[in-house]
Amino acid sequence: MLGLVLSACSSNKSTNKEATDSKASPSASASSGTPASSAANEEPYKFTLVLSNENSDYVRQMQADDPYITALNKISAEEIGVVVDFQPFEMADRYVTLATRLASNDMPDVFQLDTTIQVPELAGAIAGGAILDTTELLNQFGKDILAAYPDDFWKSPNISQNGKLYGVPKLQISQQPKGIYIRQDWLDKLGMKQPETLDDYLAYFEAVKTTDLDGDGQHNEVPLVLTKELSIYNWVFEGYFGVFPDQWKYVDGTAQPDLIDPKMKEVIGFYKTLYDKGYINDSMFTMSMGERGGFILNNPVGAFVHDVQHSGKLGYYGNPGNYTTQQGVDIAVVTGPKTPEGTKRFAPLRLPNQNVFIISSKAKDPQKIVEYFNWYFSNSEALANLLLYGVEGHNYTVKDGKIDWDPLAKVNLDERFIYQSYISPMKGDLRASDASLAFDPSGDMVKQAKKDTLAAGDDRGAFKYMPVMKTQLENPQLGYGDGSLYADMFAKVILGRETLDQAFDQFVANWKKQGGNDVIAEATAWYNANK
């Protein structure tokens, strides 16, 4: 459009990184790969993969001759005749990146989204055919990918629209279960066992509060750390009561949000008890998630919620070396209190997919792209070694034909994320995989926690894939995080500014009045159409 006015001035200096065209290898073997020898003779097909840098400094400073990318491309060139040009964008800017790409009609071959294709940015692009319909390609060349996900995923709005599939998903390892991180060393000191019932937790918190566990002569131990966003990392006891702020249930023909469920009142009441007893950090309403990490590592903290995979001795919070001010920190992860019925549902599981990679309709050889992604599920030994141990000579050595990989070597501590996650676009964060956990001294604990969480399951049903409803998009105060009516009420009750009953009932009334009723109607309609 502006071209009309500015065609005289425009030049082709704008960066359009197109995939270099090459002769595609004629022998395209779809799945389990023995190296296709004919592929080695021809130029491998190269496509551009624009993906998040996952906030990693290493990725930000990656050079063109990076050893991991080079190694990966070498293997994929030999085995299936495809190489990839990794172009990371800043994770925080992913939507701006998507928007500018779309607006300037400069979509790369493959672009990484968050969990779903149902983002407003893409509405016109999908309808207008700029995003490739991958249904047929997946059916023919992506069989292993199809098999890796449950059936209901392929029907969900995350990946499908009007019955067609768009893009290729990336696995969420074990659906990122959450757990409560507690201090095993403190439990040992106190002679307590790991908390199981609600009373156990209360006892643990009380002990932490009143005992000088780090021996500094001060009672500054914080039993439980919560932050102001009230996000999933704050949901310690919601599971016990069976309601979650982001969950819906289908009751008597309408969709009902847990947010206004009377049981939620009990949840809030319980947190108030904890707060009144001094078990929660009093910076709760001014501390953000970004600050929590530093707080945990630098202060004596009794419990907090986090993704289970970081609790092993090699994990970020499990590694005692990261706790600069304390000695002998021993982290254990547990899956929340058991209800009187004996169930233990801690936190909602993440969806089966962590991301979706959309393919541009202008990609020169989308079949090769799908084959490439499918290859990640193959039995390729070279690939498996790369994704677990890294590059030979750089991350590990071979002694007597056996691989000697030291997870605690500096290079591996620093760069494990790259070869176990970043260069594995299909399989998600492999640091949480069982294979990787086998190397962690606390690996069994983490594996058990994963198992427990998955076993406890998820009763969200079809609501699992429900996108944010239209009315809520315009009324962010109807959600549950920072800036919501729920958070306002929660804070006022916890701090005793308002009484629980009155505040909660007022909240429900306000929520409904300010658009909540519309959200309920929209959710019900969605559920009926998608169950």
């Binding site: 502006l2 071209g3 500015l6 001035c9 425009s10 030049s11 082709n12 200096k13 704008s14 960066t15 996952e54 906030n55 990693s56 400094d57 290493y58 930000r60 400073q61 800043e90 994770m91 925080a92 800017d93 701006v96 928007a99 500018t100 607006a103 300037s104 990392y233 953000s288 998630m289 970004g290 600050e291 990490g293 530093g294 590592l297 630098n298 993704d307 970081h310 970020y316 919070y317 070396g321 990261n322 600069t324 001010t325 500096k410 501590l413 620093d414 494990r416 994320f417 996650s421």
Partner: protein, 290 residues
């Protein structure tokens, strides 16, 4: 009749007040400096106030070794100097023109400029203009699209308007054309305001990173604030999902942040004292209003 005593009393009170406020302003930076030079464990325990505890320069050693930091410093210096020159060029000429009552379409143009600062600039159309001009992924995109605005123009125009008209009339009698009137009369008489706008823009250019996010893809062209953003702001924004850089383990992240902020702020602080002398000079060259 002001007495000597009341004058002295006023001077002391005023001076004390100014000093107190100045110290208040200085404290956060002193605190940051102390944090950046302290040993990690004191920082973690929030025990550092205005003096370093446990002398430790590893933050600066680390930063000094980061070649991308130096490279981006070069980029920042370049776009600040060059960008300010471009800004002064465009702003002074236009402001001068708009201060002359005989400028054609003057009233209309002024009104149109008012519109540009009241209504905000939508981002995507702005991006598309820059793209269509072929400026993407070049340093020009950081210097030209943001070169000037109503703020600079109106301030400078007001100053130009206030210049005594006698000198211009004399110049015209001497046969100066507009260009010479501008360059040889108006500009030398307006050094304080030109210096001020130069300072404003230099600081703006030095501190900006927002447009670098959408216009620049090549990391080697990143200005320093982008790196600061990565180290300080984004760190705050993101959850700890991905692992960590153990080379900084010797220092608490707060220290690194403090060090980076000081590293980036220090150069631009040197500019103002340099500019200050122009504020005095102007007084010699004539009054602003008759």
């Amino acid at each position: 009749m002001p007495t000597f005593r009341s004058e002295r009393w006023f001077q002391w009170c005023n001076g004390f007040f100014i000093l107190a406020v100045s110290i208040l302003m200085l404290m956060p930076l002193v605190h940051l400096l102390a944090v950046s030079l302290s040993a990690g464990e004191f920082v973690s325990r929030n025990q550092v106030y205005f003096w370093p505890k446990g002398w430790n320069i590893s933050v600066y050693e680390y930063l000094g070794g980061q070649s991308r930091l130096w490279r981006s410093l070069g980029v920042s210096v370049y776009i600040t100097l060059m960008g300010t020159m471009i800004t002064l060029l465009i702003s002074t000429t236009l402001s001068y023109a708009l201060s002359r009552k005989y400028m054609p379409l003057r009233s209309l143009i002024l009104k149109l400029i008012v519109v540009t600062f009241i209504f905000s600039l939508p981002l995507i159309p702005f991006f598309l203009v820059v793209r269509d001009l072929g400026l993407l992924n070049s340093l020009w995109s950081l210097m030209i699209p943001t070169a000037t605005g109503a703020y600079y123009i109106f301030i400078m125009a007001a100053f130009f308007r206030g210049l005594s008209s006698e000198l211009f009339e004399a110049g015209r009698i001497d046969g100066c054309n507009e260009y010479r009137l501008f360059w040889q009369i108006a500009v030398p008489m307006s050094i304080p305001v030109i210096a001020t706008i130069a300072l404003f823009h230099a600081v703006y250019q030095w501190n900006s990173y927002f447009y670098a996010i959408i216009f620049i893809r090549d990391h080697s062209l990143y200005p320093m604030q982008m790196l600061v953003r990565e180290m300080v702001i984004l760190d705050q924004m993101m959850n700890n999902l991905t692992g960590y850089d153990t080379s900084t383990k010797a220092m608490a992240t707060d220290q690194l942040k403090a060090g980076v902020v000081l590293f980036v702020t220090f150069p631009i602080l040197l500019v103002y004292p340099f500019i200050q002398k122009y504020f005095v000079k102007g007084a010699m060259l004539g009054s602003l209003k008759e």
